[in-house]
């Protein structure tokens, strides 16, 4: 029986239905409620050079990136980009709310083909400047060619109230290696919806890390498809959330072929009234024998009103695999705190040290020292701004 539900203002505006809590994948993130007003798509917004410059500098990787590909309000910026977009067709066609929204509204996106060994990181930088509330959607297609090796950063920064929808398809060719670091630092009034789809060929290495610390509402989907044997994927992430932030990460690790390894580690710091959600599903298909898959999520709840929900799932159809998952949540270890304080470290500083140590474990997947340093610096800055004056 179909129940007719009146469309919300946002849905009328979009001409699309939004996912809601009765859909299993969206039970914690009801976009019908969270998208609280219309965010008209395809708006042309002129950005001042000053605003763009300020946002360019706000990326933690301003000094680390070798080449940048910059998008301002959903459009490729010739002026600020060092790499040209190529002609690459989008291949991922999935009926999924974020992808559907993206298919309807994307204005532009990065299209990059990477061959050989790229020595310095490439940063895809998405900037949204302050203007009337609107939807900014980009569709990115990245090809890491056979035998290539690259470090790719994806940074989202902005100011004001907007909805950012970002879909990224990444194909990693045979024997190739990709280190990818995504940093979501959208404006505090922004909504960030994304889907990242990895397709991994045989004998590839993927090291993926996502830092989630911006936006009032965040939903990030990730899919990793193992298409070739001998592939090794590490997918890590860190949440640093405060205020009333809401961040929901849905990860699907799809083992389709034998002899692959997957590791997921998510470390989530949740303070104030914020809420973090990690839904991680590992699927081992019938042919994917000798799969070695482990997944864990750990949350540090810094206030009584902070919340973390974990939904780990394993779906295994092969009979010769090693798979496991674990999820924990709790507050800071009192023995650790006492030990630090007994050496003269104040309660506030001891907590900061322990929080940084907790989050830092997720940074271990990052090989590039400059990027790791930039993230450590960011997390220390977050801690000093966010936790100043608290004990």
């Amino acid at each position: 029986m179909n129940v007719i539900v009146p469309k919300t203002a946002a849905e009328l505006n979009y001409g699309l239905s939004l996912p809601h809590r009765k859909m299993e994948d969206w039970r914690w993130t009801d976009l019908r409620q969270l998208i609280d007003k219309p965010y008209p798509a395809r708006q042309t917004v002129a950005a001042s050079a000053k605003d763009v410059d300020r946002l360019l500098k706000s990326s933690p990787f301003a000094k680390v990136a070798g080449a940048r590909v910059v998008f301002v309000n959903g459009h490729y910026s010739v002026e600020h980009s060092q790499l040209k977009n190529e002609h690459l067709a989008s291949r991922v066609k999935i009926d999924e709310p974020i992808i559907n929204m993206n298919a309807a509204f994307a204005t532009d996106g990065a299209r990059l083909k990477i061959s050989g060994t790229a020595d310095t990181p490439i940063e895809l930088l998405f900037i949204s400047t302050n203007a009337d509330a609107r939807t900014i959607a980009t569709r990115n297609v990245i090809e890491i060619e056979k035998g290539a090796s690259a470090t790719l950063i994806e940074t989202h920064v902005g100011e004001g109230s907007y909805l950012s929808n970002s879909v990224t398809e990444i194909n990693v060719g045979e024997g190739a290696r990709l280190d990818r670091i995504k940093v979501e630092l959208e404006a505090t009034e922004a909504i960030h919806l994304s889907h990242t789809h990895f397709t991994l060929s045989k004998n590839t290495v993927l090291n993926d890390f996502t830092l989630t610390s911006g936006a009032k509402t965040n939903r990030q989907n990730g899919t990793v498809e193992f298409k070739g044997q001998g592939t090794d994927a590490k997918v890590s992430g860190a949440f640093m959330l405060g205020g009333k932030q809401h961040a929901d990460t849905r990860l699907l690790i799809d083992h389709q072929v034998p002899h692959c390894t997957s590791r997921e580690l998510f470390k989530c710091v949740v303070d104030d009234h914020a809420r973090g959600i990690f839904q991680g599903k590992v699927v081992v298909q019938r042919d994917a024998q000798k799969t070695d898959g482990k997944q864990s999520s750990h949350a540090l709840l810094l206030s009584e009103t902070a919340e973390f929900d974990a939904k780990p799932e394993l779906e295994i159809f092969a009979d010769d695999v090693v798979c496991g998952h674990g999820a924990t949540s709790g507050d800071l270890n009192h023995d650790h705190l006492f030990y630090l304080m007994s050496r003269g470290i104040s309660a506030a500083e001891a907590k900061s040290l322990l929080i940084a140590a907790f989050v830092g474990e997720a940074f271990d997947v990052i090989v590039h020292e400059g990027i790791k340093d930039a993230l450590v610096k960011f997390s220390n800055k977050w801690l000093s701004q966010h936790r100043s004056g608290r004990a």
């Binding site: 006492f338 030990y339 050496r343 003269g344 470290i345 001891a350 040290l353 940084a356």
Partner: protein, 251 residues
Amino acid sequence: MLEIKNLHVKLADEDRVIINGLNLSVKAGEVHAIMGPNGSGKSTLSYVLSGREGYEVTEGSVTYKGEDLLAMEPDVRASKGVFLAFQYPIEIPGVATMQFLKVALNSQKKARGEKELSTPDFMRLVKERAARLNISPDMLKRPVNVGFSGGEKKRAEILQMAVLEPALCVLDETDSGLDIDAMRVVADGVNSLRSPDRAMIVITHYQRLLDYIVPDQVHVLSKGRIVKSGDKSLALELESRGYAEFESEAA
């Protein structure tokens, strides 16, 4: 330096009384040994002095350099010179040993209004103190106490003491889990810190540590109070006769 008067302590969430009318006076320059059977309250005393949560002082006072020690937070006690060498040093994954030592030392200096150490000066200080305790640079690169053997943990505690240079050192069963060679290294480290301005309370179950760290006074703790005090010969006496008589005496 330290004046403990009629101290009564119970566990915060249980009615069990652990310290039951303890009196102790320690002057600068002195080394006091506190000996006693398991469960006599030795570790509780060390935790109450360092400010660990979970204990409730129901009666009595602890005065340190003329101030009410019990009113201070653990970090304040530390910056005023109180140091506890833990019986079971805590492992803290993700916090680098050098960073921890530097933050600790400079926090204390800042609290005392002293000038903080620069990174090169700090590195020199730690390297010099570590070498004396046979602590390898590799150990210093690891997170605090993580993956350290029992003996390494104890040496790391003494290193912290040597770097922080406290006025009152409380050593809680520093000898436990150490073989003779390791104990000698630790004892040498402790002895090198003996000074007229510094007092030490050495808590131990066995007499053997006191062969190396020779105390000025020895106290026998039983059922939460000091039941006998004497000079270093008391430790030898305990070694040969055991704690049985004191346990019945206190009862």
